[in-house]
Amino acid sequence: MRVLSALSLRPTYSIYAQGLFMNQLLTHLFYYLFISVLLSVPYVSFAEDIIPPTSESQSETGQPVSTENASGSTETPETPQAPQEATGQLTKAPELITFVDADYPESAKTDKIEAAVVMLLTLDESGKVTEVAVQQSANSPHAFDQLAVSAAEKFVFSPAEIDGKPAAVQIAFKYEFTFTEEITEVEQDIETGQLSGLIIEKGTRAPLAALTIRLIDRDIETFTDAEGRFEFTDLVPGKVKIEVNDEAHYTLLDIEEITAKRETIVKYYLEPKAGQGDNSITVVGRRAKKEVAKRTLTMEEIRKIPGTQGDALKVVQNLPGVARIPFGGGGLVIRGSNPGDSGSTINRHFIPLVFHFGGIRSIFPSELLESIEFYPGNFTPEFGRFTGGIVDARFRRPRDDRFHARVEADIFDAGLLFEGPVSENATLAIAGRRSYIDAALGSLPEDVISFVVAPRYYDYQALYDWKKNKHRVRLYFFGSDDQLQLVINDPVENNPTVQGTLRNKTSLMRLYSAWDYRISSTLKHHLSVATGQNKLEFSLGDQLSFQNDVNVITLRDELTWKKSDQFTLRGGFEGEAYLGTIKLKLPQPTRKEGQGGQAPLSTLDIKQTDRDFQFYNPALWLEAQWRPTDNLLLLPGARVDVDTYLGDVAPDPRVNARYTLLRDNEGKPIGTIKGGVGRYSQRPSPDETDATYGNPDLLLEHSAHFSLGYEHSLSQNLDIDVVGFYKHLYGSVSPIDDPILRYDNNGSGRIYGLEVLFRHNLTSRFFGWVSYTLMRSERKDSGAEDYRLFSLDQTHILTMIAQYKLNSEWEIGARFRYTTGNPQTPFVNAIYNADNDVYVPIPGPVNSTRVDAFQQLDLRLDRKWIFNDWMLTAYLEIQNALNRANPEGENWNYNFTQSQVITSLPIIPSIGLRGEL
């Protein structure tokens, strides 16, 4: 048997972007902004555009609309383009009836050079090609252009029709000169030939199963198997016209020569249509709904939301109940709670840091996350130690189909990701990122501030996942490191202590291991341990310093027993241990939240200490999932937290319920009422309970969550979710005027509001949501008679997000946000401190004024290039596209007699690139 390698010319095409929908706003926007870009970039395979004739023939033109591709299947218009003098609509697109192979330049064959030529074909009313112009040359010395033109002149199309009448049109046609990846001819002993091959998706290289492959002129067809392979046997020698048709991909047409006694083997790449990409990423929140409010998003949605640079954790800030942090910081103000009262976890293990430098970028690439589950309140007993909300991110299993690689870069950082199978049962992913902000800031003038180490961060992740039969073992190693060091050359006039070298270093490292064991069909066991270090260092000259090194161990051990479809019991143990040292040289504390102005640093006394500490906090939790009727789901549960440092125990009962009010014809729930009530506890911050700096006799803080809501599916893709909530804070730590005790547990608070989420789920082209929160968050300090506003109280929080996929290459998106301005405490006077030559402000009524509302529009444009074996994606994001000067706070002069508004960042364009193999 002789195996031969052969070259093959495989022209591929599809009707592409024929339609014009002049009345679609997004189309207009796209057209006017980017049509020139479209026409200037290389077309990928199957690219064929219909555009209006040039000026010489425009009198005959119409306005093309949706039409059929050459294989006869109906195509949705991909890139509608408006003719400048359109007078009608394209009612029938031309179909390619006669296709002619172009000769391959002999000189190019030798070097295996491939090329593509984009031509503008002018068709007359009969479909005959009357003129061929090269629109985009192959730019090659190998005469690709001439040969493509020569072949195209012999094409014959069916007549195009405008307003039902044959009309002349122009189409853009891309002719690709490519080598077949693998074509071998196997000598056989029979008079017939064979055709076999492999069909994979272009870009992702995923095998495409169950596709129909048809030999058009012989009226026979077959299907691809699970591995994307197909085979035709006993074929009469001669040319065969091959068609591969699939709704999710552009139709492929090819011509191959069948030779007697030989097997022709081909490999085809099918290009996905709009809305078909990125399905390999697991969708967020697939588990059954049981909470009153758990928001879920797909990774594809997350990646494209304007203003987030594709950062999954930042997307949470766009959901109902989440207030906006000034200057786009990374904290989460969930249902009016202090950012410190809400926790972030990785695979349900708490981590103190999720963003680099407080909000620039999360410390995990979104690509590695399987899900982000956001619980704005009434979370189940498996979570504790926080009185606000929970954001739980989970790493995904590295892909096991083949090796993948990804390179990504934007204005902040660049990163790499490699993943793939390492054995039959195990997969591995390794990733890392590093910022280059330091390079950009190196050019700042040095007379005021000079950087010793300009701000820089990096993070790294290694994920190993093994599973076999009833066992699954995961090992994750990840961490991050942020650092900056700068010299403030001269004392700051209004705060002269601020001078010298400023150092800040933050790092986090974790080794996470988990073992899941399905003991039986009804019993599952999970054990996970995370160990690591948190390091925080800060210093300013000799005046201030902070160094905190902590070794952390967190553990979860839990069992799930599914007695029946109606009853499941879950419970477990959760423990945390912190052992570390702390060295402090810090000033008298500035005022706590809601207490008004900050005293200048130079007026505060400096104290220092150096000590070791250790504490261990165990917790037990139990939750039942009981479905007494088909429509009712009850989730009673409880959690008991023990704080050995404070010597306090918190039993927290919780219950959630869901009742299905409406079902569709198929019995699927479309209307559900839901509610929950529960108690939540957390320890005060470490400074508040420290013997030297706080009050070691403080106890745990508590909150009670009440919520009631209704969710309704308006259609297959439209959902509305309305939740009302009330949160009562009690036992809150509050500063007092006692210089020894400093704090007590007599603070309280009340937060109430309404959340609405109106969402269009991700379809082939569109997704978006409108999120609105009406809320009021108030606090009552120890000894106070009246409530006051919380410092980040925002009455109205509106977020509107829309993302539209124009075709497989282009997407546009927009985000608009409106929030009520944050409360401010005005200053009514100031006292001159003669020792330090500074003024100490005297605050007026706490949070008695507000800055103006925040409004911002962010835009995003994505462009994807799909090559056979890899994909390249680029995006342009414009934050604050209207360049609105949004107020973020107030700045005061040296003696607090004048103020001016501090505004947010101006319009900021940013770009990013991602290559995926």
Binding site: V498, D605, S685, I740, N833, Y894, N895
Partner: protein, 347 residues
Amino acid sequence: MSRKITPPTSPTATIKEQNTHPYRSPQWLMTLATLGLVLAGLSSGCGDDGFDSKSVLQTYRVVALRAEPPELSLIESSVLSVYDFHPDELEGDRPSIEYSWRLCLFSLGSITQYDCLLEEIPLDDLLSEEMMSEPSEDAESSSLPPANASLTLNPAALLATLGEDLQMQMEQLEMGAGMLGSEMNFFESGISEVYVKLTVEIEGEPNFELVKSMTISFDDERTPNQNPQLDEVSLSEDINEDESLPISSTLELEVSAREGSAEDYQTPQSAEDIKEGIPPEVITESLLVSYYTTSGEFDQAVKLVDDSMSELTLGEEPGEHLLYIVLRDGRGGVDLQRLAFKVEESE
């Protein structure tokens, strides 16, 4: 051309230690807040925020409140001198100004805007002849400008005058707030800190409130803080009341401090550190010089004394003007000079 102004010699500074008020504690895990504070400070100090600089004297201001000596003891009085400025005095028409002095024995300091935990003691009413001793000879013979107001504070006499009233207030404080502990017992710790408050009243203008902390030492072995001393003031142009400088011209200033002005002192310790025998950290004072003027603006109005060069761009307002140079040690020690000069339109 430069002019050197050398003040007369004053007592040599000695190394001493000081603990800040023992019951005022810093808050740890405030790094991020501190970082924010630093950045806020940077933004307010470095950015073009459109506000007038603190160094520009346009309204009534107290430029310095100097105590000599800067610390109190039970056996020595201290003279507090007010150096202030009112824009009318440039035209020789200084208005009538009233000064009201008060003393606060216990306060949480700037975090509570110097609210007094006990009743404030109005010093004007309590001042007896023995408390109001004359300013010391040394102060009179220095290069200090004449003070606009002064007060002599004699703690021993003050305590004797307050007598039972003070004792009663302190007992109330102990019982009411439970504050009597090792940290509050200043008689055991050896030092305490009191606050002198001054209210300046000028008819038709808002009151000016001022506070100065003063350490009272009960420890004979402790070396008290001393005022730093300006040694030399160098100017790029010779200035005095007879010669004029052209408007919008520039003037370079540089000062130096007399040797020993930057004293060493010990940082305060927590009770646990003392219990564990951790020695206190010894720090050298960081001397800052502040410039103020009635004409023009400085490129940098607050400088470290070791790098004190600053450039003054004079204003466009001709006439008599003032330039103040104030040296501070950050612990209550102050020295200053005042220079008068004329600005005229260049011919």
